[in-house]
């Protein structure tokens, strides 16, 4: 494959340009799109997100994107969720009443009181030494985290965190008032709470790894 096409799902206003530029840096053709057909046909998708649970789920529904994203994931195609794009994979959220995409069991919870909220800035992510492939626990770092040291700093901005029931899906953990899940990964799905497109060199490595994954699939 020469240049894989990666669709960046566009369903709410925000800065998608940085995601696009990061993917292009590693040779991908990155299209910002809210067209279900275009998303369906892409070699990989990045599912970004900022803002609130309910308005985001409604925006996805209005654009007819809920089912295409769920189907895309079921088909085993490479998927990278970012920030709210991780939280929306769960079934429900403390932040609102709209159900999430339900790709993972569990819910999105509010960060505990007692510290500044949002959790904003650079924090460390401890990586898991195993990940799940086709229901089996596989020893070794998840490929999207290749070449990165456990404990590396990434840029976070969020007030809620993902709390998946299946802990084997968690590939990254961060501490802020509590230890929370800052990355999940299994089979074709990866999602991170931090913003790789804002995390300098470490973050760019995540996009480089993702483009590689898309290219080999």
């Amino acid at each position: 494959m020469s240049s894989p096409t990666i669709a960046i799902v566009n369903y709410q206003a925000g800065n998608l340009r940085s995601v696009q530029k990061a993917l292009e840096k590693f040779g991908a053709t990155a299209k910002i799109s809210s067209n279900p057909k275009e998303i369906d046909g892409a070699d990989g998708i990045v599912f970004p997100g900022q803002g609130a649970n309910d308005s985001s789920m409604r925006a996805l529904r209005e654009r007819g994107l809920v089912e295409p994203i769920q189907r895309y994931i079921r088909r085993g195609k490479p998927f990278l969720g970012v920030c709210l794009g991780l939280q929306l994979l769960l079934e429900a959220s403390d932040e609102g009443i709209e159900p999430g995409l339900g790709v993972m069991k569990g819910r999105t919870r509010r960060l505990p009181e007692g510290r500044k909220i949002p959790h904003m800035g650079w924090n460390q992510v401890r990586f898991s030494n195993s990940h799940r492939v086709l229901g089996q626990t596989t020893v070794g770092r998840h490929p999207v985290l290749d070449g990165l040291k456990s404990g590396s700093f990434f840029y976070f901005v969020h007030s809620y965190y993902a709390d998946p029931e299946e802990r084997a899906l968690v590939i990254g953990t961060t501490t802020y008032g509590l230890d929370f899940c800052s990355a999940v990964g299994w089979d074709n799905v990866t999602a991170v709470q931090f913003h790789p497109e804002k995390s300098g060199r470490n973050g760019l490595k995540v996009y480089e790894n993702f483009v590689k994954l898309v290219t080999v699939v």
Binding site: R17, K21, Q50, K116, I117, G121, W122, Y155
Partner: protein, 258 residues
């Protein structure tokens, strides 16, 4: 551990950085893109651009600048100056800014904060707060000053801490507090103001105005309980460099991103 942030702040006028860096030979000190790339390389945790362009006719130049910076620099970018409507904010975010900073426009129309936060999320909306100490009070009190762009400004009578609380209720996700008294003195940040504010609001507080040396950064983070420090001249004029500042802060036990 969440790191304390060091944020260089660049004033941009009609597409060029003013008060440019003196010590860097290999970058065009007036070019915002080169400067942003340089600071990224140095390990800056974020960047802030203030558009001090006087004429609104030339505002589109800033959109172009932000777009070109966002193509090359992959750290958070806040843009402030002259943003007066949701459309202005949207244009800046679409150009590649991660956060927009509201100052005078928010004082004149507080609802602008709510509109911005509703549409883009609180994490995008920064309150730029210019505060001046009221000398007549025995207990410290600060007033909000607006239109401070060209050395002047209007004191509003508004209590700075109360205004900050209101702005948080309306939806700002971060506050950059600039002490008018300390700004430009190089004698250190207004630590009372920082501590008061940081203990009152639930969102991150960024210290601005007064940094003259590395001890000042340390004081703001330790005694002032700020979450981040904004600095201009100590970095621009080459008094100190960011890796040096980070090393110093780390030696004092401040959590930083190496």
């Amino acid at each position: 551990m969440l790191a304390k942030r060091i944020i260089p702040c660049l004033d941009v006028k009609e597409g060029r950085v003013v008060k440019g860096i003196r010590f860097v030979d290999h970058v065009d000190a007036g070019d915002p893109v080169s400067m942003a790339a340089f600071y990224d390389e140095e390990g800056a945790d974020e960047l802030v651009f203030y558009d001090i362009t006087a004429s609104s006719d030339n505002r589109n130049i800033m959109l172009d600048v932000v777009g070109r910076v966002a193509e090359q620099v992959f750290i958070p970018l806040t843009v402030g100056g002259g943003l007066r409507s949701v459309e202005d904010m949207l244009a800046m975010l679409q150009a590649g800014a991660d956060k927009v900073s509201l100052n005078t426009a928010a004082v004149e129309n507080p609802n602008l904060i709510k509109q911005g936060a509703d549409q883009f999320g609180s994490q995008c909306i920064v309150l730029g707060l210019d505060a001046i100490r009221s000398p007549q009070n025995s207990t410290p009190r600060w007033e909000v000053k607006v239109r401070t762009g060209n050395g002047g400004g209007i004191t509003t009578g508004l209590d700075a801490i109360e205004w900050a609380k209101q702005a948080v209720d309306l939806g700002v996700g971060e506050i950059v507090v600039n002490s008018i008294d300390a700004d430009g003195t190089k004698k250190g940040y207004d630590l009372d103001l920082l501590r008061f504010l940081s203990e009152t609001v639930t969102v991150p507080v960024v210290a601005s105005g007064g940094a003259g040396n590395l001890d000042h950064l340390h004081e703001a983070l330790e005694l002032g309980r700020a979450d981040a420090v904004l600095a201009a001249s100590i970095f621009h004029f080459g008094t100190h460099r960011i890796p040096e500042a980070k090393k110093f802060l780390a030696s004092k036990g401040i959590p930083i991103r190496p």
